[in-house]
Amino acid sequence: MLVTEATILALAMLSVALFLALVRLARGPSLPDQVIALDLMGTIAVGIITVYAIATQQPVFLDVAIVLALIAFLGTVAFARYVEKRASS
């Protein structure tokens, strides 16, 4: 079936993408680099959850994607506030 192969391919590509974002998270020369790597990992995780929902035919997982997108956004905004406050003090 076409969708099954597509989900396997997409999951493989997303795993590589997650690993590459992890490389930037570990290496990132400054704190904002690490924050955007973390943000990217959140977005990739939303994609992985969506692909997994298709692969297991469980649309309930899309709710998890909503929550994860929300948490990733809040985390990024909180980090940005922290970086800026630390710069001004």
Partner: protein, 142 residues
């Protein structure tokens, strides 16, 4: 038919997110890295969510997927803007082959507010003979 569209969107979305991850490793400085994570990764996540919407073909699931897409497309620019602004204030270095930093001198580094044009920068509309208004935020009490 919907299987084919769904599989196509899945692979396209995963490819965009993979490109974003490659870009975040390969790009030379923070601000160029940020454009891959913001645009490409958001488009990729949007494509996979569209694939889910097409695959399940149910109204409530489609609405849910569209809600996630709308949320991602609204929040990604905001988060990227806040991180870029904070990074600019703490002086994250630009790429050594950067040609121009048009924002230099426009920020008051103590209060983090925009000030007008820096004095060394010539007004590029002055040759039109019109009086060009300076930044109105300059004297506004914010």
């Amino acid at each position: 038919m919907s299987d084919m569209i769904s599989a196509l969107f899945l692979v396209i979305g995963a490819a965009f997110m993979l490109l974003a991850a490659v870009g975040v490793v390969r790009m030379p400085d923070l601000f160029t890295r940020m454009q891959t994570t913001t645009k490409s990764a958001t488009l990729g996540a949007g494509c996979t969510l569209l694939a889910a919407a097409v695959y399940f073909g149910d109204l409530s699931i489609t609405a849910r997927a569209l809600a996630v897409i709308t949320f991602l497309f609204l929040t990604a620019p905001v988060a990227a803007h806040m991180i870029a602004r904070a990074a600019y204030f703490i002086g994250v270095p630009l790429w050594n082959r950067t040609i121009i930093d048009e924002l230099r001198g426009h920020y008051d580094l103590r209060t983090h507010k925009l000030i007008g044009h820096p004095p060394h920068r010539s007004n590029h509309k002055a040759h039109l003979g019109k009086e060009v208004k300076q930044n109105p935020a300059e004297d506004r009490d914010r």
